[in-house]
Symmetry: C2
Subunit: 234 residues, 2 copies
């Protein structure tokens, strides 16, 4: 375990366990150095990490404060597919329609940067959260990278399979999104009507080596899926 991650985790846990409210001031850096017995730089790295994840904010000349402000019922848009810890793990399941091997369309080829003959897993599934349908997902995975997929894996989490079993490190992602009018077919899956609104997200995930392995189009139910993003200027 890397020291700075360890320290970050411990600080975060301390905040959550003590249920510290927003704007509570934490010990200063000197204090944290003594508390965790690591160098100044390591503390700072841990703090920057927590700051980027929206847990704290730092004010030069003043102090370190708790940020923490997640509206209930909103999903973390950046971490909705794998990154980092999700603290309020809830019943999350999928109804899987297809797990097929297909040839890539030109759109898929472009997004996954793959060859003409390359085999691609195509998976269509309905995603549920606390018994509510919140999205219809159409995913493409490169077979040469994920090896083997089946319905059972897709019913749970493809991403944990890729991370924990295949030991592939997820590096970064691009997401494109907009509001759309639902077509009849998709509306039926979501239990809505044609013409109803939806959030349409296209995502591409890359390994830490920079190779794309997953391209997905996700249509979110406009009433059951709400998101938040925290960012900072640093």
């Amino acid at each position: 375990m890397l020291k700075y991650r360890d320290v970050a985790k411990k600080i975060q846990q301390a905040i959550y366990q003590q249920n510290l409210p927003k704007d509570t001031q934490l010990p200063n850096i000197e204090g944290l150095i003594n508390q965790y017995q690591v160098s100044r730089t390591t503390i700072i790295k841990a703090l920057n990490c927590l700051e980027r994840h929206g847990v704290i904010y730092q004010v030069q000349g003043s102090g370190i404060f708790v940020r923490q402000l997640q509206k209930r019922g909103y999903l973390n848009f950046l971490e909705s597919h794998g990154f980092s810890v999700d603290l309020n793990n809830s019943p999350n399941s999928s109804q899987v329609f297809n797990v097929d091997i297909v040839q890539p369309s030109s759109q898929v080829k472009q997004n996954l940067q793959c060859e003409d003959g390359e085999e691609i897993y195509f998976i269509k599934r309905l995603r549920k959260f606390e018994d509510k349908i919140y999205a219809l997902e159409r995913s493409y995975y490169r077979r040469k990278m994920v090896g083997y997929l089946n319905k059972e894996i897709a019913e749970h989490s493809i991403f944990s399979y890729i991370k924990d079993i295949l030991k592939i490190n997820i590096g970064f992602s691009d997401k494109y999104f907009k509001a759309i009018k639902l077509d009849e077919q998709t509306a039926n899956y979501l239990g809505l009507s044609a013409g109803d609104p939806a959030l349409c997200v296209e995502e591409i995930f890359y390994t830490s080596a920079g190779e794309p392995f997953d391209f997905s189009t996700i249509i979110y139910h406009y009433d059951n899926a709400k998101f938040y993003v925290q960012s900072n200027s640093k």
Copy 2:
């Protein structure tokens, strides 16, 4: 100018000026140290900065590569309101309806963490980009923080006024979003029909000292506004 920002800027400029394609390998860290004459740590800080902004990706044991992949016509969701440089600056204007001082509603009070009697600027404006209407924005600014606002400022950029004239440092933001069905009134502003889809974003902006100064609700035209977000697991 901070060294690491300076280095980051120069590396980014080098990439754009030479128009380096995706996955081009950059010089290694040793090379960059020699090129920019700063310490290893400073180079690394600059690189991490660029990585977070989606300009490059780094692969341990392998190298540093160009990332750069912005689909044309998509707005950077995280930087759509102020942060960082926007490279493709385009004609961007606003039609301003109101610049009023009002008492905060309970929703505004909660989001801006303000007192009952506090004076709040309420601004409603239609945002245009290359002559297309792309959003209706309703914003609330705390008067005690922004001092003075008028129609002319709102027609241009309130954020550059706050940053460049008032010298307030923007620290971080929370954004909440979902797809919605347009009501008749908002639809009229956007040139759409009631029931059409839209992307609804609520944002709260904080100074670098952690004080909220702006709460806005923005309704984006579903055909004219598309967004991207780049993120990474580091």
